[in-house]
Amino acid sequence: MTAPPTSATPTSSYLIQGAQPYGEEPQDLLILDARIAAVGDQASAEAQRLATEEGLEVTRIDAAGLIILPGMVDLHTHLREPGREDAETVETGSRAAAKGGFTAVHAMANSSPVADTAGVVEQVHRLGRASGWTEVYPVGAVTVGLAGEKLAELGAMAESSAKVRMFSDDGMCVHNPVLMRRALEYVKTVDGFIAQHAQEPLLTEGAQMNEGDVSAVLGLSGWPAVAEESIIARDVLLAQHVGSRLHICHVSTAGSVEIIRWAKQRGIDVTAEVTPHHLLLTDELVRGYDPVYKVNPPLRTSADVEALRAGLADGTIDVIGTDHAPHPTQAKECEWSSAAMGMTGLETALSVVMETMISTGLMSWRRFAEVTSITPARIYRHAEQGRPLQPGEPANLILVDPRATQTVDPQAHASKGRNSPFSGMTLPGSVRATFLHGHPVVLEGELNTPLTDRQVPA
């Protein structure tokens, strides 16, 4: 159990009434001291008892018509701090995460300095704890400076107060096959895993967009699907050979889905992620040369989108990762080939996944909970995230209004990034509340207060 609340924090209790767990039969759910205390009929009875016998104030939340889910867990977030605080900070990115329904995010290592030492990962972890809007888990770089030449001190990062288990050079591919093999082997010693950004660098030199019919007409250098697929094929074989755990970031092509399906059938310990934007958008959008659609990996074709959706539905793809990549305005308000790659995604992820997977009938809310929470938490081996909605489990929860629709307005986002490719689109679903360890960091769809009473590790 968690430590008893400090004297500075009053004991808090919430009775969530009539919410539908995983979109199924409505039930009450009682939160007490960061945990789920009771579910169903017992919840209201226990709330009654707490109020009358222990004089505790129990806040009632009418959640009729809302869906209750475990808080979302994003294995792929760029928080930009340290180094690019003009683009995002841990604080603003954490706010965006909370609003988007994430109770945990994993901050990629491509900050400045790169998160390739214990010092940097501890800094990011500490900033996350201080922010208190979501759990922030830093990802450690695989190689020093993301340069792909020399292993970073993975052990030191694992043993640091940040307890890093996930290592990635995301943004760059660990393209050297020997180094990748060693990295896969070495992380076994810290019970970690490698998250690979699959992009063969020589096949994508100067690449600007998906190579295909659209790039041919636009005269933009092509980014062939094979540059992703060849690395995935190599790495699943390496993972099999050394018996290690491999996670594939942002799978974007139909061919990648096929290779991962094959690898899983062979029993290889590989997991895969897809971004919300790759589930919805295609390279046709590039025709106007608006850099808001420039992203790595690039937007692909509608056939790829279909294959990604099918792969996510059938379990070939395990998780949603947002690849939330905020950029300052000037990085996108320029020539396409000069523009930065990346899109914001934390505050639109739920709606886009709902639009593409649930509204289409491809997926249930239970499967939604798996791909956005349960499985990413399992991949990282988090004890307090992605847990069942049952008594005794941590109260990392969200309430979702499935009937709401909203028109995406990046100006209204909590992220500093305004580079949302969904700007102006009307999408279903809305995060009404986010509970982080029992504390409502989001209520009524708006930021409430952060969880700041926790001991921040030195």
């Binding site: 295909g212 790039s215 041919a216 636009l218 005269g219 933009l220 250098s221 040369y289 396409w336």
Partner: protein, 331 residues
């Protein structure tokens, strides 16, 4: 028509309108006083982010013959080289009172971005954007082809399109803005287009384009005297492609895809439907001895200098049509 960004945007009627207007402009260029008052008081800015003296002076001559004020803005040695953004540069030009921006840019899509932005109300003319398009080059090529096509028939070119004409485009299609603009425009005008290139210099997906594709120039040139092309357009081989493994050596390129003396002799024996010899076009500058032999460069079939003079006429037509139809009032 508010901007000229891509020949893919041009309808058949718009393309003919530009070409027919260019014929009128060509007449001006042969007069002793080569000037029209059409754009008096209007300002045209040549905004060049990439060196191209030929294209710049062609646009400059065109604007001046229409009595426009012309400003040349070269990105080299300007604020742009100190890191100024395209947005700030263009807003500066807008504040100076430009009515049209003729832009050459190294980035594909830069002209389209400018036209779609709210940075300026100027008419935007794409004078070549990266490896995307170069619409005025295609228009001047079409004007050249149409004149030759009409002359062989002793007809007035005005109002004609290129239906039935067979045009080969030879060389680096993948990186060529000239090729892309030509393909779309020639197809709109009814010509049959054949592309000839090593597979490395053709874009992925080219098989879906409305063209024939040949890896062999000899095959594309046809076997009989009346089976060849009506025109052959040789693209410049950029030196930087040679080291990129697009083809083994310049010598091999020349042997397989160059307009050599031998292939020139085959072309000379071709006769079109009206008995005419094929036309040879090149957007310039030519690499003599690489994609085109000296004899082919100097051949009377070669239209290169006509292309240059047609460039001025076409650019006059485009400026005239864009600026005299715009609602923006002169300062």
């Amino acid at each position: 028509m508010r901007h000229l960004l891509s020949t893919a945007d041009l309808s058949h009627a718009q393309a003919l309108s530009i070409l027919d207007t260019a014929e009128e402009m060509a007449a001006v260029s042969t007069r002793e006083v080569k000037k029209l008052p059409t754009l008096r008081g209007r300002t045209v800015v040549n905004l060049f982010f990439e060196d191209s003296t030929r294209t710049r002076i062609s646009f400059e001559a065109a604007a001046k013959r229409l009595s426009a004020d012309v400003m040349n803005f070269s990105a080299k040695g300007s604020s742009v080289s100190k890191g100024e953004s395209l947005k700030d540069t263009v807003q500066t030009l807008e504040a100076i009172g430009a009515d049209a921006i003729v832009m050459r840019h190294w980035a594909s899509g830069a002209a389209a971005q400018l036209a779609a932005s709210n940075w300026t109300d100027c008419a935007v003319i794409n004078a070549g954007d990266g490896t995307h398009e170069h619409p005025t080059q295609a228009l001047l090529d079409a004007l050249t082809l149409r004149r030759g096509w009409a002359a062989a028939r002793s007809e007035d070119p005005r109002g004609m399109d290129l239906t039935g004409m067979r045009v080969l485009i030879v060389g680096d299609i993948l990186h060529s803005r000239v090729a892309r603009s030509n393909i779309w425009l020639l197809r709109t005008l009814g010509a049959d287009v054949g592309l000839v290139a090593p597979a490395t210099l053709l874009p992925v997906g080219v098989e879906k384009w409305p063209v024939s594709v040949y890896y062999s120039l000899d095959e594309a040139l046809g076997s009989g005297p009346d089976s060849g092309p009506d025109a052959i357009m040789m693209l410049r081989v950029q030196a930087e492609r040679m080291g990129g493994a697009y083809f083994p050596t310049a010598a091999e390129y020349t042997r397989r895809w160059g307009l050599t003396d031998e292939r020139l002799r085959r072309l000379e024996s071709h006769r079109g439907a009206a008995g005419q010899k094929p036309m040879i076009l090149h957007p310039g500058p030519m690499n003599r001895g690489v994609e085109i032999s000296a004899a082919a460069a100097d051949s009377p079939m070669n239209q290169v200098l006509d292309q240059v003079s047609h460039g001025v006429s076409v650019r006059m037509a485009v400026l005239h049509l864009l600026l005299s139809s715009s609602e923006r009032n002169p300062v």
